[in-house]
Symmetry: C2
Subunit: 210 residues, 2 copies
């Protein structure tokens, strides 16, 4: 595939899948209109989003719920399980590791690293916390593919570089910096303060319009 | 202002502000190139992003750090303080309320609501947890403007509706649904499982290219 799929499309695919999982009769069918209504979008957008990935559904008949669900899981790469490590045993990372939906979606929490001597050796979210000195060995031995990076800003770039060197395939980054990593290793940034700033921006700009 | 500013632009403005705050000499100047390098973007993008909001800087001289910082704080609506309530006293919401950068950025945590009888009356993140039955009164009495909605999926739409009715100006939503609220009330969705899905999507699609 050579076209870049926009992030917003990927988000909507996740929403469509969530909707499909709520259907009581997986053998039934669903129309673009129904999917659109649940995802706060339009039927045309649903059809356009799905058209990136092939031809689904039949005109006038809609989509088979179970088939579309399987397709979406395959497209999103969650028709398999992923081995995930948490680097930085702070509250947000641990909350994610203990969130039932996280495991239910195919993400297996296999290791936790933190340099804090008070945390090393203790059990968090069901796993023993290890010092990051053993990170590279663990990536190899445990087959870690994804890293949740929840370390302070000053440590994030170094740990991201180590993760890439060790062969990690993707990073979910909670540190408030843009990581410099090769383009083949995708990074998703989660910055909760920026989300709040986007809110205060939207409210402030709306006020300027009045 | 009638043009809609893309979310990605707003995110970059937050990044530029973060960069500017790292400067040791606020009376000095900074070029678009320097801002671009810190934000993993291009100088042309920096100039374009800033041009939405007026004319800053002088050709060949760059931007005055302190002036641009003040402008960005004003544009993002954080040249003032915001009164924030947490609805749903789970780990992620509490982590945010206890995060020092959250207060430092101008967001004041003024109330926490949770229907769980085991939580009501206890102190979390320095605040007594209240039952949501008192939510509307608190919005009025405490001047709550922003709500962090961290409740289960089934309760999110009802609480969002109550927040809008009560006069809340914006919602940061952690529930995995699209909230149905009037367009004048901005909503930012944070869905950590979807962030992971965006990662596994990117890795999987890259694999298909090989």
């Amino acid at each position: 595939m050579t076209r870049k799929i926009p992030d917003s499309t990927v988000r909507r695919l996740s929403h469509y899948l969530r909707s499909l999982e709520g259907f009581q009769e997986p053998g039934g069918t669903v129309s673009s209109e129904e999917l659109a209504a649940r995802g706060q979008t339009t039927a045309a957008q649903v059809r356009k989003d799905l058209s990136h990935f092939g031809s689904f559904g039949k005109r006038g008949l809609g989509y088979r719920v179970d088939e579309l669900r399987a397709h979406l899981r395959s497209i999103l790469g969650i028709d398999r399980r992923w081995r995930v490590a948490l680097v930085g045993a702070g509250r947000i990372g641990l909350a994610l590791f203990e969130y039932p939906a996280f495991r239910a979606r195919g993400y297996d929490c296999v290791a936790i690293f933190d340099p804090d001597p008070e945390k090393v050796g203790t059990v968090r979210a069901g796993l023993v916390v290890h010092d990051p000195s053993g990170f590279e060995d663990a990536v190899r031995d445990l087959g870690i593919e994804l890293v949740i990076l929840a370390v302070p800003e000053g440590a994030a770039q170094e740990m991201a570089g180590r993760a890439v060197e060790a062969g990690v395939k993707g990073i979910l980054n909670f540190a408030p910096i843009r990581l410099n990593v090769p383009p083949l290793v995708p990074v998703e940034d989660v910055n909760l303060v920026m989300e709040l700033e986007a809110l205060s921006f939207a409210i402030t700009q709306a006020g300027h319009e009045e």
